[in-house]
Symmetry: C2
Amino acid sequence: MILKSQVEWALHCCAILAGLPEGRYLSTKALAEFHGLPKEYLSKALQSLSQTGLVHTTLGPSGGYRLAKAPTELTFLEIVEAVEGKSRTFVCTNIRTNNPCRAPGYCEETPCAVARIMWEADEAWRDKLRSVRLSDLIDILSQEIPSDLLKRSFAWVLERAG
Amino acid sequence: MILKSQVEWALHCCAILAGLPEGRYLSTKALAEFHGLPKEYLSKALQSLSQTGLVHTTLGPSGGYRLAKAPTELTFLEIVEAVEGKSRTFVCTNIRTNNPCRAPGYCEETPCAVARIMWEADEAWRDKLRSVRLSDLIDILSQEIPSDLLKRSFAWVLERAG
DNA sequence: AAAATAGGGATATTTGTTATCCTTAATATG
DNA sequence: CATATTAAGGATAACAAATATCCCTATTTT
């Protein structure tokens, strides 16, 4: 069970978009080049962000993407779910109904206990991702990345931001 | 990102094995029939449980599986990881190293901040699964399943347990 | 008018999951 | 001792999902 690589891409792209000055946009081309990713396929991940309303887009030269809200209001969970979907990792196929001892018409009211427990674990995962904001990531990166690299990266992005 | 169906199978099988009297074994054939699962493929899941030492096996007629330890000492995490593996759901491909602004020889000491956060969420998922014991599931099932169905199921298993 | 962009459909390619089949070694039972 | 039954595991096939790539369209800036 492995998350799509697009999840990693989307998170890194949002981190870059968070540094974009108000009202400016960054293209798929620039984001793909900066991260060394296949442009066409990265585009699909960005489309997912767009479809869920996490980013705004604009067309034409100087077009591209910008965040639809402040990094303090954007959680990891939103970004992850935009790309990966909202479905649970545990799928209950209700194999308890195959029990040969069951009365033919019998039907349970509650979901299977196994499923409920597994879903609680899923919820714990979600809770953690919901508790982390994009701004938290930006804070960490600002501290960890050498300031000269940070400066050069900002400049690189600004040169290409429409 | 969806867990293998074998995870569901392994959890339900362990629940059945937990009800087995001391020293007796239940075969793949019986477990497959009880849950309505493909015997040969279920066998692979049971082999995973065996390889990680969660169950004991014995050969020959009246052979099969039994739990290697008490249900109070067996966690959901152990069962899930036996089948699904212990690897993280988020794989960091270190795309930060593709940043065109980096100095050629530059190398980070710490794992990527994005990965660290995603791994914390994985850990929250694991923590939850580690906190639930197989005996907790048994307790819930004993309450929820109608006592006559429970009784018939026990009898069905005992008839086939070697 | 021209160039660049996002969006999206169609289609491979690769990998992982699901499943089946068959052989081997071990063991209980008659 | 002979037979039937079992787990273990290797080989392989069918199927689904992830990972791309290509191309066309509508929009927008220059």
